[in-house]
Symmetry: C2
Subunit: 654 residues, 2 copies
Amino acid sequence: MGGPLSMRPRTFIQKVERSPDDPTGPRFCIEDIFPCIDGGRYAVKRIAGEPVEVWADIFRDGHDQIAAALRWRRDGETRWHSAPMVFHSNDRWSGSFTPTEPGWYVFEIEAWTDAYASWRKAILLKQQAGQDVGVDAEEGAALIAEMMAGDGEAEAALENFRATGDPALLTADALADAMRRSDMRPDLTRSIPIPLLAERERARFSSWYEMVPRSQSPVPGRHGTFDDCIKRVPEIAALGFDVLYLTPIHPIGKTNRKGKNNSLRAGPDDPGSFYAVGDASGGHDAVHSELGTIEDFRRLVEACKAHNMEVALDIAVQCSPDHPWLKEHPQWFKRRPDGSIKYAENPPKKYEDIVNPDFNAPDRIALWLALRDVILFWVRQGVEIFRIDNPHTKPLPFWEWLIREVHSQNPNVIFLAEAFTRPKLMKALAKLGFTQSYTYFTWRTTKAEVQEYLSELSRYPERDYFRPNFFVTTPDILPVQLQKGEPWLFKARAALAALLSSNYGIYNGFELIEHEPIPGREEYINSEKYELKHRDWNKAGNIASYLGTLNRLRHENSALQQTANLRFLGVEDSNLIAFLKQSADGANAIASVVALSREAREFWLHFGDLTVAGKPVRALADLKGGQRHMLEWGGVRLRIDPGVDPALIFRCET
Amino acid sequence: MGGPLSMRPRTFIQKVERSPDDPTGPRFCIEDIFPCIDGGRYAVKRIAGEPVEVWADIFRDGHDQIAAALRWRRDGETRWHSAPMVFHSNDRWSGSFTPTEPGWYVFEIEAWTDAYASWRKAILLKQQAGQDVGVDAEEGAALIAEMMAGDGEAEAALENFRATGDPALLTADALADAMRRSDMRPDLTRSIPIPLLAERERARFSSWYEMVPRSQSPVPGRHGTFDDCIKRVPEIAALGFDVLYLTPIHPIGKTNRKGKNNSLRAGPDDPGSFYAVGDASGGHDAVHSELGTIEDFRRLVEACKAHNMEVALDIAVQCSPDHPWLKEHPQWFKRRPDGSIKYAENPPKKYEDIVNPDFNAPDRIALWLALRDVILFWVRQGVEIFRIDNPHTKPLPFWEWLIREVHSQNPNVIFLAEAFTRPKLMKALAKLGFTQSYTYFTWRTTKAEVQEYLSELSRYPERDYFRPNFFVTTPDILPVQLQKGEPWLFKARAALAALLSSNYGIYNGFELIEHEPIPGREEYINSEKYELKHRDWNKAGNIASYLGTLNRLRHENSALQQTANLRFLGVEDSNLIAFLKQSADGANAIASVVALSREAREFWLHFGDLTVAGKPVRALADLKGGQRHMLEWGGVRLRIDPGVDPALIFRCET
């Protein structure tokens, strides 16, 4: 469907450019390049249309004047773009470029000896010292003639010099400017190539609403449909969510189907887990017949687009024993000595309703292509966001290959990695191309934990490849903290997620304060993973409008549309977290305070000498209450009553 | 002489090992390798015979058990050595190896899936949970048969299992140990190769005495000879110096010869600057006839060896206009439009008595080979230490090539970079292979400056490639601080150099408190760079025996024989610097206090909870005075009188 498996050129290789014919190069050191992930092995992440600042140490031996440029091109294109770099101090240079379209890019730094500038500097110093420069001028004339052959301005200056012998003609500022047109670049040295992935804005700023489609029926006990989902789109869009993330929509297997609460025996009416993908009617590229048809699904996609939302699909690379691939591609599944196929397990845990394809199968390349084609099938249905289930249990090179394959056809596609595993493995998935990543946010509940974790995520190099997406709960995770069902705490957690991270999400039912766990575990009881659920979305006490306000403020304030611009503020209360975010141009600066405990109290929020766009903050405008607070002595006295609202959000005024 | 210029294999290239036939690999991430300089571009430096500890993050997808090994080989050898790595936590592993001989090495990390351990862990967990493991045992038997075909122990266990059906036979500890013999390593992934330069011990620990040979005559006005130098060897060796570093010993040009104090006109008896290398009688591979013959020089080399010292030669890649190369290889020197050869300059400064060969000349490869052969010539005369003059004004790739070329013939050769230039360029020279480097020590005089600079040099990664050599003065540098000629300060600076840095040196005359500058400059007046000098080495007030004591303590205490083991101690006096060094095994720990001002005073030296080899320090034994001080309240009250001795040196006792 997407053509044969292609091996992409290895643009990630760090190489020393030293031709076998020229042992004397490269003359320059180009070191400590920023941004750069793992020596150029992985791509730096940026947003298309936003400038990329590049810094490096650039130097060579000796006292010559040097010049440097930044060059870049989109992957697959042959033409390089170029921009000059400027010197700062201590051998440090910088330049910038803007990748205009989403896609994979590569950039490099070029450095060369500026022969004319070196000559010019020397002759001017000698003239100042009163030394004879006759021979120096001759040398300069020869150099200019060589570097600028055919250039009218340079040739006119040379002619003038030959007529008058005046060296000043060769060092004139206008000629010095013109000399930059020369394409003679002695000692030209190139840095390692550094890959960069430019994505569309939603990679950086998105608000996810996770919905289980079969639970969206307004009639209790009836299986929900895509049409039921379509009916809910306007209200969800009105709350300010822009990604409608659907749990898997595929046919569900019958063999070993799980019953309510993950029981081993399903009753005749139990719908089974939507993670047991596939039955005789189809697999990963089919829709569950009770949800509707593929045309119905496309209408849902269109309905979302009409409300400036997008559908995100949940891709779980696993099969129910009834998935068509088991018959069509038996070689993708490992047989045990007794002839059976092993179901998924993490001993001693067993997942009897699913089997995993074997990524080591001799026929694995066909499997890789089929999985890629699943994604491309849904891209053709209008889906450009995929949430990948458990990517950390499949080979990392598979994802690296898959993402680039999909991007070669549509660079707008966004991938969210649902990996709850060890930190380095989660980071590795982000490095190899996942747009966004699930995080440990759910379990970071104290002030110290939140500040430490956010500091890690917003520092370099993490900020350049790992985009967190903070989910407050998921169908698999009901954190202990929320199991008492305190509305103020549900609001506080939503506010932390929405204000700390520019990408965040909720799982349906959160707005209804659903909080009943399996006793002693961090999971929902009667989870809709195993049964149909019916909800009254207008139930008293719901916090939908609170979420709507958070989303509105996120949309209105560009400072809240990124994550790495985070800076914590001082507040002497271990149950209050305060932080500032400001937009790159400084025009928008938002200070927030979120309570971690229930009691109302007053507190000082410290700004000290903090400036926004170079000016000291003088007042805070409350974006929810409307009041205006003047700063005094570098801070402001505020009151918070979490029972009313656990989050204060202010626009900083200078 | 050393054979044609060879292009060495590019072992420095960071590569992703992904065969075009197998898009599914590499399965493992091997990241954040320590030690590693600039992503493996440059070699890590170590001492032959000392263990190299290697750390890395090693992980793959999923829940399988993994194994890892460190492998290494000497450059040019084909056989790899290997040692297992051990897991610590958070995906971090370590291993170690010892490069036994000086030379260039490369090491890599290998990781693979431990299929047997993965199977064993799963079946044991299932048995614990009371699950049926019949099929699992069959799978294990097949795996063992595959991995250990032909292994008696494994086959016996399998036979036993087939007879009894008891899975415990397949998970027995003895069999688990035996399984490590299997050479089946599924998913084998290799890290980038990391180069390592192992040098002999003197690379790490050396005490240099810089001598101007022509000034060593005991008869005023007579040109010194190698025989005069030989006569001084016993006294210099007795002071504990182990490197006798000679300024250039080559014939000196007559054209544009410099007179006293660098004047443009030399008198008929002026000997000229020994940096104006070469006359009609020879160049870089000849000796100045007034010093003696090459045989005399070899006797000096032998005399040093007999006293456990070595000769270091000063190599300046520059030529007097009379150097034979100007006639033999005119193409190595650039002609100006008027037909002249440009003498060296750094506008507006001019060096009229020397010309530089052109490293960009079309015939440059012959020039490179000739320069290499100069080094190899002196290596054949028994010299294994070279101090390279101004390497930062010659192409960096030249030095990288030269050092490896020389090491391919004699890996014992030590190169000291005399580059006083910008910090990144000095570090680059160290990275590409210079054994030791001159530093900014001479200009770091306050406590804050010394502590900041030493912290930079002893941190990672600098500690792994940059070995400082602290010279207190040089023929070019008489720092302002020493121009008053205060003996206590000469002692303090020598103590700082000798105690902070395991490589240090003095320039002859320092022990005589020579201190007269050219007014307003940091240079000696009447410098012996331009004239013969005669000295009374036993002059009253000389500090030779003080230097001898420093050297003796350095030799007696292994803690003082390295630099990166430095740790500053607390002392509340901005003119006292205190620090601790301890040997890797903790057996030797030396605390030193050096005064930066003249007045006598008492002070507290703080140890706090500091331990040495795991035990708290309880007493300090004064290695010069012999007293013993007991610590109380985590510190000790001491007295220093810089007029008597500006440096206290203690052995820490536990």
